[in-house]
Symmetry: C2
Amino acid sequence: MPKDPGNGRPLDYPPSEKTQVKRLHERARYDRESAHAILDAGLLCHVGYVIDGQPYVTPTAYWREGDWIYWHGSSASKMLRKVKEGVPVCLTVAMLDGLVLARSGFHSSVNYRSLMAFGEAELVEEEAEKIRSLDSFIDRLTPGRAAEVRPPTSQEMKATTVLRMKLSEVAMKIRSGPPADDEEDYALDVWAGVVPIRTVIEAPEDDPRLKAGVAAPGYLDEIRINRLD
Amino acid sequence: MPKDPGNGRPLDYPPSEKTQVKRLHERARYDRESAHAILDAGLLCHVGYVIDGQPYVTPTAYWREGDWIYWHGSSASKMLRKVKEGVPVCLTVAMLDGLVLARSGFHSSVNYRSLMAFGEAELVEEEAEKIRSLDSFIDRLTPGRAAEVRPPTSQEMKATTVLRMKLSEVAMKIRSGPPADDEEDYALDVWAGVVPIRTVIEAPEDDPRLKAGVAAPGYLDEIRINRLD
């Protein structure tokens, strides 16, 4: 496996014309371990597709299994109906980790993790496999919950489309750490540093119609989204 | 001004074929007040554009002035070089506000705010206007900081492209509140409710090379991103 000369990581997703990061290439990653870490931290992706030359960017939840990204939604959704035709897709995941306040506006930035995956989606058609993948989506965030909720009806399954796309043409960019100022600017009397941004999961709020005696399950305290650690 | 029959809000951005929300239309908004509230809460958008039939979705920071969305970046950026040609763009902002855990997988959802804006970007060319808009970006998050940092050099200004797009074809979707379960499912012994997700700004971290005696400015305590309130 060829290695990235910049960081020694494997080039699991060899850079293509579309995915080669041209500027600030020290922020680039093309390895599977980084891709899985970004995808497993996030929950929200943005799916880009084209209808009659017009780009659309639809936010939606996703999950990962192996080297596949899954997403789902209503079978009536414009995005899903288009994307399941096997058209070119760009699926992007991005998480903000901090504001990078440099001594000049020019060097100010943000810390972030981002992944762009190019490809074509495929429909998960087989009913048992659809149910299994949707259960794994539930259990990914709330382990054990898939077995607790009321199972899907066949009508619900018909109304739900599940798509997946294999990771193959992938570009990641990650920035972390303090500002990188021009050498002479370090002498300025300007505060500089990083303001960390974090996604927190707050205390669960019972449904107002929660049945008496039903306790909040333990997995609610373990939910993690967008976390760096 | 015509009103939205669903919620009585003005249809400031009249629904078009692209922006008419077809399912769950009770989540739809087309009014300026909602658009400005979503845009002013967020920081990260996803810009969709097409090159040779291939969609690209690039995450980037944005800011709002009046009914215009601004974004910026390196003049060498593939996204900015393409988008400044006046091609069709879809710019999407989405924020997760919570997990909605219903008594079935089918009715489980997320609480969120999202905005999709369609249009063509225009270049902010005039140097004074470019500087003014970049200053307003800095001051939006950290009021007063634009006057503290080292001003941009003419070379930095050349290396920076600023684009803007007018809000005109805009679709918003907002979901909030508890799950909406099938009536018979309320009797199940399954916990249901909302797990709130919040973006928090943590304590600033001084640059390791911060000049001795430079104190952290007060505006660092006032930064708000993705907040609902």
